[in-house]
Amino acid sequence: MNTTTHLLYLGTAVCFVLGLHLMNSPATARRGNQLSAFGMAVAIALTVVVLIDEGTITRTAAVVLAIGVLVGSTAGLVAARRVKMTAMPQLVSLFNAVGGGAAALIAFGDALPGSTGRPTSTTLATFLDVLIGAVTFSGSLIAAGKLAGVVPGRPLTFAGGRLVNLLLGLTALTAGVLYTARGGLGALGILTGAALAVGVLATLPIGGADMPVVISLLNACTGTAVAMAGFVIGSTPLIIAGALVGAAGGILTKLMAVAMNRSLLNIVAGGFGTGDEQTVSATTAIGSVRAVTADDAALQLAYARKVVIVPGYGLAAAQAQHEVVELAQALAERGVDVSYGIHPVAGRMPGHMNVLLAEANAPYPLLKDLDEINPQFAATDVVLVVGANDVTNPAARRPGNAVSGMPILDVDKARSVIVVKRSLGHGYAGIDNELYTNPRTAMLFGDAKVVLTALITELQAYAVGR
């Protein structure tokens, strides 16, 4: 590789870092992503030039490569254009799967007999690349399946599952160590098979509500696998970009786990929580709750001065982001001061709720984060909680329970609270929400989309009545 090529590759790495840096603020985030995409385009174009210049690629390989890229690009483009914003997490997971798969295949391509081995290729890097890449590939597919509802979201466990997984993990490690020491495609094959099985078995027992953290973790793993692929073929851009993503995904995973008040170890161990919100019967240990009709709720909202809407997982699951924004607009037209209180982990991924509301054209200044909205609740007439649960549970302020210490939205400080929810089922923490038995809280049972539509209709009736 000559000096110019090397410097240009370095330039693309700078684009990636600066691009991520620009994603610090909503105003520059889009430019950041475009800068990163520009860097990527340069890296790809540069590699084409290098390939032509070196001239060692066979004609068949060039054609296969071109067709493969064309097919993949088309599939990626169509998926990215068509995906609904609520289905974003599973798409990210699918991209993790293919990225990890490609990284593992690079190691295979490099290790194949007949391939001219690269001078820097080390068997240890190949082992790690295949191990991480294969686990990420199968794990991400299961994670995407769980979020899309193809695979049941609830934790899937079976007797001895952990033991089987442990044995598979040991098999993978043994095969990997054997490969590192002596090489041989047989060991690499066993390693791949075991790693793929580990990915599946490790993801199945994890509940659907924990999936966002897992996807973030798998994102970090894919980055690491790509960096390992960089070691295998001696490519600096792969090492830099892979390491960047590995670190980014790692930090993000930690932030998400902290915001959900879960330890990463606990999440990965699995068996906790449910897929979507549970439909546990209403006869849980919780005390008496007060239910209201949409009619009453609409009246209360219509004559409030200040309303804060707290959207949560249930809103994302019901895909009711357009309805909630429509309701907010209808209230604003009546002169009600409306804003949104958004918990960092509301929705299916951190920040997902902001994306959903932005899609529905909610004005950005009305979206308030936790620190901004909490002091405002005391002066709020009505808080409308839509499909949010644990993030509003006052029990978090006390030690000794599953949500202790978790930052929450102080909705119980408002004059009244209306909770839109399908049932009295638990959130992923699996405990009762004390907010629901608060005398100032009224429950409005039903699917978020249906209830919000009913509220909008009722509000219109009031407008006509005046």
Partner: protein, 92 residues
């Protein structure tokens, strides 16, 4: 360890540190686009697929190459497009 491997390890470790430093400052509201944006960056794996293509000359190798190329291209193209779609909505 060869000098090349040592240099590679140096680059790897420093990149990890840069990644930590850059990401820690991103606000929670941008975490989903960030995850998606980082997801697109590991699409750089397509460069690796192209490099490894230069040393492949067997039928099995071609099959693997095709799958790897399709996977990597889907990652990089889809990743950037979907992130851009998300961030476009943020500006309004």
């Amino acid at each position: 360890m060869t000098p090349v491997l040592l240099a590679d390890i140096t680059v790897f470790v420093l990149s990890v540190l840069v990644g930590f430093e850059v990401i820690t400052k991103v606000p929670a509201t941008l975490h989903t686009p960030l995850m998606s944006g980082a997801n697109a960056i590991h699409g750089v794996v397509v460069v690796g697929v192209m490099i490894v293509a230069a040393s492949i000359d067997t039928t099995i190798g071609y099959v693997l190459l095709f799958v790897a190329a399709a996977f990597a291209a889907a990652n990089v193209v889809g990743g950037y497009v979907v992130t851009d779609r998300m961030l476009e909505m943020f500006r309004r």
